[in-house]
Symmetry: C2
C-alpha cells in the first residue's frame, strides 16, 4: 500500500473514531490487549528475526535489549493497553460554555485531533503504547518505526488490527508504514492532506530531522539539558538527595539533570558534600574554575560541557554569583525541559519559577518527576519541549483539539 | 540590523515581558496608544509616500483603500490598543492545580509564548493590533509586513517603540523586519532559536508559503470554504435569513458561506425561495443538476465550484440525499473553518455537530459569527483552521503557553 492510500484510509477511519463512544473505544482496547496475548507466538517469531538480523549487523547489546521482546514484555504491552481503558476519555468535554448577549450558546468542546503520525526509533513497545493512547483519544494513527524493528512492529500492528476487527472497529485506525526508507519518511512529514499532527519520539537527530522537514504540524519532544540550582538558602542534605536522584536514578532519560549550579555563598559548604555523594555514585564531575578546588577528584569543564546532554554518569558543575546568574546560565544553555531550584527562601522560589522558561520548574524536588505517570496523567505519549499546543508530559488530553459548537435560533450578523 | 540581531533582541525583551505585571503592561499599552496619536503626522507622511508609490505601480483602488491611513483610522488604531487594556490578562492563570500522593503540588500555569512572529500583507493597522495583543499576553513580537506598506509600518512601529520607551519597557519587544525580500522572510521562518511561533495573516498563497517553508511552529489561519446545510426539518424563513446573511453580509471574509447544500425532501419548497432571495442580493448561483431547475436564473456548477472560496457574490448550490451526504460533501471540500446546519430536528443537530470536523459548527446561526469579537474574546489575532494549539478565533489566551510549576519538600523518585 502506498503512503497516500494509508493516509486516505486512516482519515476515513478517523471519521468513525470521532463519533465512537467511550464504551466502544474501551471495548476495542480490550480486544487489542487480548490479541497481543493470543497472537504472541507470531510477535515473538518476528522479533527473533529482528534480533538475529540486528546481531548480524553488529548492533550494541544495550540497543538489542531495547529491541527485544519476551512473553513478559508482551504481557506488559497488553497490560499497558488495558491501563488506558481505565483513563478518563477527554473527548466530549465542554472546555468552556457560555451564552452571548445575542442568545448564541457557544460550547468549546474537546474533539480528537484526527490522524496522528508517530515517527519513532527501535522500541516495539511504542507501537502498542502509542496506538492505545491514540485510539482512546479518538485518533487514527500512522506509525513509522525503525528499520531494525520492522518485523516486530508489523507483527504487533497485525495483532492490534486483529483486535480492532474483533471489536467491529475499522482496522485502518492503526496503520504501520512498512517502507522504512528516508524518502518515504520525508513524504509522510509532508502529508498535510491526511495527517493532522506528527510526534517524533527518539533521539535529537530524529527530532531535528522531523522539525526541519515536516510541513505537517509537529510536537517536538524530548531533548533535556536539565539543571539543579542550589540556592544560598538551600538545605544541603536536601540538595544532596535531589542532585544525586536527578543525576543517577536513570542517567539516560531526558529528565535527568546534567549541570549543577551552586550559589557562591553556599559553595564552600555544599560542594564538597554534593561532589562526594555524586562521586560515590560513580559520577564524573566537570567543574568551572571556582568549583574545581571544592569538588575533590574532578576535571575542568569546557564551554561544550554546559551545552551537553550527557545521558550518562557525568555532571557539569558551576559556581554562580546569584539566582539571576543561574537563570541566565539556564536561559543560555537549557533546552526548556525541567529545571530545579533547591531553596528555603520563598522569594528565591518565586523568582526562579517566574523567570525560568521551561516545561517544568521544580522547587525542592527532583527533575526526574517530569513524566506523565508521575504527573497523574496515567500514561504519556511523550514530553513536549515546545510551547505550542502542549508543553511537558502529554497525556490523552494533549492528543485532542477543540471545536466550537454554536447553538442559535436564527441569529444573523 | 540583521534578522539574527532582531531575534536576539526580541528574545531578550521577552524575558522582561515574561515577568512584567499586568499593571505595567497596561501602562505600556496606554503609552503606545498615546504615541500613535502624538506621532500621527509622521505616520500620515510615511503612509502618503506608500500610497503614492502604490498608485505609481498601478495598485488597484480596493487595495489602496486597505493600505490608506487617515487621522480617524489612526485614532481607531490607538483606540484598538486601548481596548486591549480592558481585556483580562491570561498570564499567571493556574489552569489546573493538584497535589500528588507523594505531596508534590503541581500547578499548570499560563505563561507567554515568548517571541511571536507575524507575517502579514498590506494593512498597516495589523501592525498596532498584533503588537498590542502580543504585549498584553507578555510576548515580544517580530512583524514582517508587506513591501507596499513598509514606510507606514516603519512609522507605526517607531511610534509603538516610542511608547514602550516612555513606559520604561524594552523597545525591542516590538520590532519590524525592514527587509521585505523573500529570502529574509524565508530565514525568519527558520529562526527557531529566537521565534517560538509564526502566525501568517493574509491570503492563501502567503499561508501556504509559510506552512511549506517554516521550521518554526506555525498557526495556520484563514482559508474558509464554508457551507450552509438546509436540513429537511429546516424552517425555510430561517434558512433564507441565515443563507443570505452568511453569503452577502461580507462576501470577501473567510467566514462567509460559499456553498448551499439542501436536503432533497425540502428542496422543492426551499430552493426557489432561497435562490430568489440570493439573486435579489446580487448573488450568482452555480447549481448541481437537481438544483438547477429549482433556482431560476442560474448556471451549472462544475467540480471546481465545490472547492472554491469565491470571496464574492457567487454561491454554489447542491441538493443532497441526506445529512450524511451533506457531511461527506463538507468533509471532501470544506476547509474546516465554519459549517452550519439549519434544522429543527434535535437528532439532526446532534449528528451534524458530532460528525463535522471544523473549527466552528453552527446550528441555526450564520457562519459569519466565527470571529473573536463575536465569540466574546474582545479581540483576535486571527482564526486558526488547524487543530494544534488553537482552533477557531484566537484571542489573548491563544497567545500563551503553559508551564508546570512543581512545589516539593525534597521529593525524589
Amino acid at each position: 500500500m502506498t503512503l497516500e492510500q494509508l493516509g486516505q484510509r486512516a482519515k476515513a477511519a478517523s471519521a468513525h473514531l470521532r463519533t465512537a463512544s467511550t464504551a466502544d473505544k474501551n471495548a476495542a482496547l480490550l480486544a487489542v490487549a487480548a490479541r497481543l496475548e493470543s497472537d504472541m507466538d507470531a510477535i515473538l517469531e518476528a522479533n527473533a528475526a529482528d534480533i538475529a538480523a540486528a546481531r548480524e549487523n553488529g548492533m550494541r547489546e544495550s540497543l538489542i535489549d531495547r529491541l527485544m521482546l519476551s512473553e513478559s514484555r508482551i504481557r506488559g504491552m497488553a497490560d499497558g493497553v488495558r491501563d488506558v481503558v481505565a483513563l478518563a476519555d477527554p473527548v466530549g468535554e465542554i472546555v468552556t460554555g457560555y451564552r452571548r448577549p445575542n442568545g448564541l450558546c457557544i460550547q468549546k468542546t474537546r474533539v480528537p485531533l484526527g490522524v496522528v503520525g508517530i515517527i519513532y526509533e527501535a522500541r516495539p513497545n511504542v507501537t502498542s503504547d502509542a496506538a492505545a493512547l491514540c485510539l482512546k483519544s479518538g485518533n487514527a494513527v500512522i506509525l513509522r518505526g525503525g528499520k531494525e524493528a520492522l518485523r516486530s512492529n508489523m507483527a504487533v500492528t497485525a495483532a492490534i488490527r486483529n483486535g480492532l476487527k474483533d471489536a467491529g472497529f475499522p482496522e485502518d485506525a492503526v496503520a504501520l508504514l512498512e517502507q522504512t526508507d528516508r524518502e518515504t519518511a520525508s513524504k509522510m512529514m509532508k502529508l498535510n492532506a491526511y495527517i493532522d499532527v506528527l510526534i517524533p519520539r527518539g533521539g535529537a537527530g530524529l527530532i531535528r530531522s522531523v522539525v526541519e522537514n515536516a510541513t505537517v504540524p509537529v510536537i517536538q519532544t524530548g531533548v533535556g539539558n536539565c539543571h539543579i540550582y542550589v540556592d544560598r538558602a538551600a538545605d544541603i542534605d536536601m540538595a544532596k538527595a535531589i542532585t544525586v536522584n536527578a543525576k543517577v536514578s536513570r542517567p539516560s532519560v531526558c529528565n535527568a539533570a546534567e549541570t549543577l549550579l551552586v550559589h557562591r555563598d553556599i559553595a564552600n559548604d555544599a560542594l564538597p558534600v554534593l561532589a562526594a555523594a555524586l562521586r560515590e555514585n560513580g559520577v564524573q564531575l566537570r567543574c568551572c574554575e571556582r568549583a574545581l578546588p571544592l569538588c575533590g577528584e574532578a576535571i575542568p569543564a569546557t564551554e561544550e560541557d554546559w551545552a551537553t546532554e550527557y545521558g550518562d554518569y557525568i555532571m557539569a558543575v558551576k559556581v554562580v554569583d546569584s539566582l539571576d546568574d543561574a537563570a541566565a546560565h539556564i536561559a543560555a544553555y537549557g533546552t526548556g525541559h525541567s529545571e530545579c531550584i533547591v531553596t528555603d527562601s520563598h522569594q528565591a522560589a518565586q523568582a526562579f519559577t517566574l523567570q525560568i522558561d521551561a516545561a517544568a520548574v521544580y522547587v525542592n524536588a527532583s527533575t526526574r518527576f517530569t513524566d506523565g505517570g508521575e504527573f497523574g496523567m496515567g500514561a504519556e505519549i511523550g514530553i513536549s519541549t515546545q510551547k505550542l499546543h502542549a508543553r511537558g508530559p502529554m497525556g490523552l488530553t494533549e492528543l485532542t483539539s477543540v471545536k466550537y459548537i454554536v447553538y442559535g435560533d436564527g441569529q444573523i450578523r
